[in-house]
């Protein structure tokens, strides 16, 4: 599904290296968790994979379902099936959530030469997905993320994920700012979307999220590299001993 080879990235303006040779393979239907101390490059990796401007890839390659994506624009990567759930979803006053969601769904369908959904078809789809994810329909009538609580914003991200049906979902610290109940709600939404043809990369600081979304693999990132990989027990080890007890030099 996703293959990252020796990915090196620096900040465009500062010419400062952030990713220094990341290697990662994510198979279909797998859930990978990426943990690591602050500043280790986890969020940068998610941005670079999604095509955020401001970064220069100095070497390496990234492919999604065998197709190289580094030269694609963010919207093209999205249409290829990549989805990033933001740590801080952006507020867009004046643009209704429903309109935004439908625009996004149809933009991707158009790019993939699929038939666009009309208003009635989309309404049926969004109702069905909202009910399954326990999302209040009232949230859809409001402007995108405006006045949403932290939990609502994250649930809105999961709803977008459900509607866009990506192949690869990257969750960037989705648990940050959530209380235990909100986190459980978001995690159950993610679990609802698991399938053999959809993979997840979950970036998190804490093991607590991984109690609810069980990863197949856990990777530890430090200073721009993945320095240790293992099963879900690695997250427990981090929780117990912290990063300092790990040998963080590769």
């Amino acid at each position: 599904m996703l293959e990252i080879n020796n990915l090196c990235v620096e900040l465009e303006e500062e010419k400062k290296g952030i990713l220094k040779g990341v290697n990662l393979k994510v198979g279909s239907g797998e859930v990978h968790a990426i943990m690591g101390p602050n500043g280790s490059g986890k969020s940068t990796m998610s941005y670079v994979l999604s095509g955020k401007p401001g970064y220069t890839v100095t070497s390496g390659s990234v492919s999604l379902s065998g197709k190289s994506i580094l030269d694609l624009e963010p919207e093209e990567r999205a249409s290829e099936g990549l989805f990033l759930a933001f740590q801080y979803p952006v507020e867009i006053p004046g643009v209704g959530n429903m309109n935004f969601l439908r625009t996004a769904v149809n933009a991707q369908r158009k790019m993939r030469n699929e038939t666009e959904l009309n208003a009635a078809q989309f309404l049926r789809l969004v109702k069905e997905k909202s009910e399954r994810l326990n999302v209040d329909m009232d949230m859809l009538k409001r402007p995108v993320n405006v006045g949403f609580s932290g939990g609502e914003k994250k649930r809105n991200e999961i709803l977008q994920m459900a509607l866009l049906e990506p192949k690869l979902c990257i969750l960037d610290e989705t648990d940050s700012g959530l209380d235990v109940d909100a986190m459980k709600l978001v995690a159950s939404g993610v679990n609802e979307l698991k399938s053999s043809s959809r993979s997840f990369v979950i970036i998190t600081h804490y093991q607590r999220l991984l109690n609810h979304i069980i990863p197949d693999f856990v990777h530890i990132m430090s200073d721009g590299k993945i320095i240790k990989s293992g099963g879900k027990e690695l997250a427990l080890e981090i929780e117990k001993n912290g990063y300092s007890k790990l040998n963080l030099t590769s």
Binding site: S50, G51, K52, P53, G54, E73, P74, E75, R77, A78, S79, F83, L84, F86, P89, V90, I92, P93, G94, V95, G96, N99, F100, R102, T103, A104, N106, A107, Q108, M111, N118, A119, P143, Q160, L164
Partner: protein, 408 residues
């Protein structure tokens, strides 16, 4: 010797004011950022482009409709029939000479405002306008008054002077729409008595190369409310000049505007709010989207008289620069002579927020579409100031269509 009627006397007085103040010059401070030449030249310099698709349909089946074509009141297209709690006169009718409130109001708010700032083109309007409607509202009107300004000629000059008097505890929504001529100097003097309310929405047409000077002089009595919202969309030149005098305690005044400028265009908002009594609130919210080499101008002043304690004044102006050649020129001013007041002002400009743009693009939406959505989002803060939800929907719908956003 011929005796002049009261309205003619007001006009002669205005002529004298005009002789003293004269037309503004390019180096006048309050025309600091745009040239008054368009309005002082012998002939109109602008041209009108007619496009029926460029309108917002504000009319409803029960509204009171007033139509001006090329600056002249068009009775055929107007609907001044029998409406409860409202009376309307045209300036040209004989009966206006006998109506006291008209003779008391005409030119009076404009004249008073000249003491704080000389506005030659306002005095000129009061002196020489031959067209206008004089409206008195005495109850809480549910139906809107819609004044439509249109043009049938490519080049024409309009000089219009309207009056609106809102009696105690009365309320009305006044909508002015369209440009109306290739050069327009139009004025509204609005007198709001105790507990009265006026919701005033103006749309200066779209994609027009007319030169528009829309002047608005408002006087508010005790506990009255005035809300003004203006929209300009890709107009060559529009200057909104608004002067408000809060003359009773507990007044509320809100002035907001959204504009989108394009190549060669200039959108100018020059606002003066005078707090003359205690416990009044005023808000100014101005949002300007500037494409190509468009220029956005905001000059906003809050004046607080020594006796206006507990004044609450707020002013924000923001420019969204979509091109390196566009400019946002602002001059926010506070002049405060009372010591127990809250007055704040802010002015910012910048380009599209990269994080927001990335967020939308990461959902698969093409960049141009994302920029349009963020433009709409930027203008929304001003749009939110409009109190009538139905009007907000109409204006937002127009912007969505014009910005090419693919919502059905």
């Amino acid at each position: 010797m011929k005796t002049l009627d009261p309205l003619s006397v007001s006009k002669v007085e205005a002529e004298k004011r005009y002789d003293e103040i004269r037309k503004p010059k390019f180096n006048d401070e309050y025309w600091r950022f745009s040239s008054p030449e368009k309005f002082t030249s012998e002939k109109p310099l602008g041209q009108i482009s007619k496009n029926k698709e460029e309108v917002i349909d504000f009319e409803t089946s029960d509204c009171l409709r007033i139509s001006f074509v090329d600056g002249c009141l068009n009775m055929k297209e107007s609907n001044l029939g029998e409406f409860k709690d409202i009376e309307v006169f045209s300036m040209g009718s004989e009966e206006v000479k006998k109506v006291d409130w008209i003779n008391d109001l005409y030119g009076s708010i404009e004249k008073e405002s000249q003491k704080k700032l000389g506005r030659g083109l306002a005095a000129y309007n009061s002196a020489y306008a031959k067209e206008g409607v004089f409206i008195r509202v005495s109850g809480q009107l549910k139906q809107h008054i819609v004044i439509d300004y249109s043009s049938e000629r490519g080049r024409s000059d309009a000089l219009i002077h309207n009056l609106l008097r809102i009696e105690a505890s009365a309320s009305v929504t006044l909508i002015e729409t369209g440009e109306g001529a290739s050069r327009v100097n139009r004025m509204l003097e609005c007198d709001i008595l105790e507990h009265g309310e006026c919701n005033h929405v103006r749309f200066f047409g779209a994609n027009t190369s007319a030169h528009i000077l829309a002047q608005c002089f408002v006087r508010q009595a005790f506990s009255s409310t005035y809300n003004q919202f203006s929209l300009t969309f890709e107009n060559l030149f529009a200057r909104n000049e608004t002067s408000i005098s809060l003359e009773g305690e507990g007044c509320m005044s809100s002035i907001s505007a959204a504009s989108i400028g394009v190549e060669g265009s200039s959108q100018d908002d020059t606002v003066y709010i005078a707090h003359m009594m205690p416990n009044c609130k005023s808000r100014q919210v101005f949002k300007k989207v500037l494409r190509d080499d468009a220029v956005g101008i905001f000059q906003g002043k809050i004046f607080v008289d020594p006796k206006s304690q507990k004044t609450d004044g707020y002013q924000i102006s923001k420019g969204l620069l979509l091109n390196a050649a566009s400019r946002f020129l602002t001059k926010p001013e506070l002049e405060i002579y009372a010591d127990d007041v809250i007055c704040s002002h802010g002015s910012t400009c910048g380009d599209i927020d990269e994080d927001s743009l990335f967020y939308l693009m990461s959902r698969g939406i093409p960049k141009e579409q994302c920029i349009s959505m963020l433009t709409l989002a930027f203008l929304d803060e001003a749009l939110e100031e409009v109190v009538d939800d139905l009007l907000v929907q109409k204006i937002r719908g127009f912007l969505i269509k014009k910005l090419g956003i693919d919502f059905e």
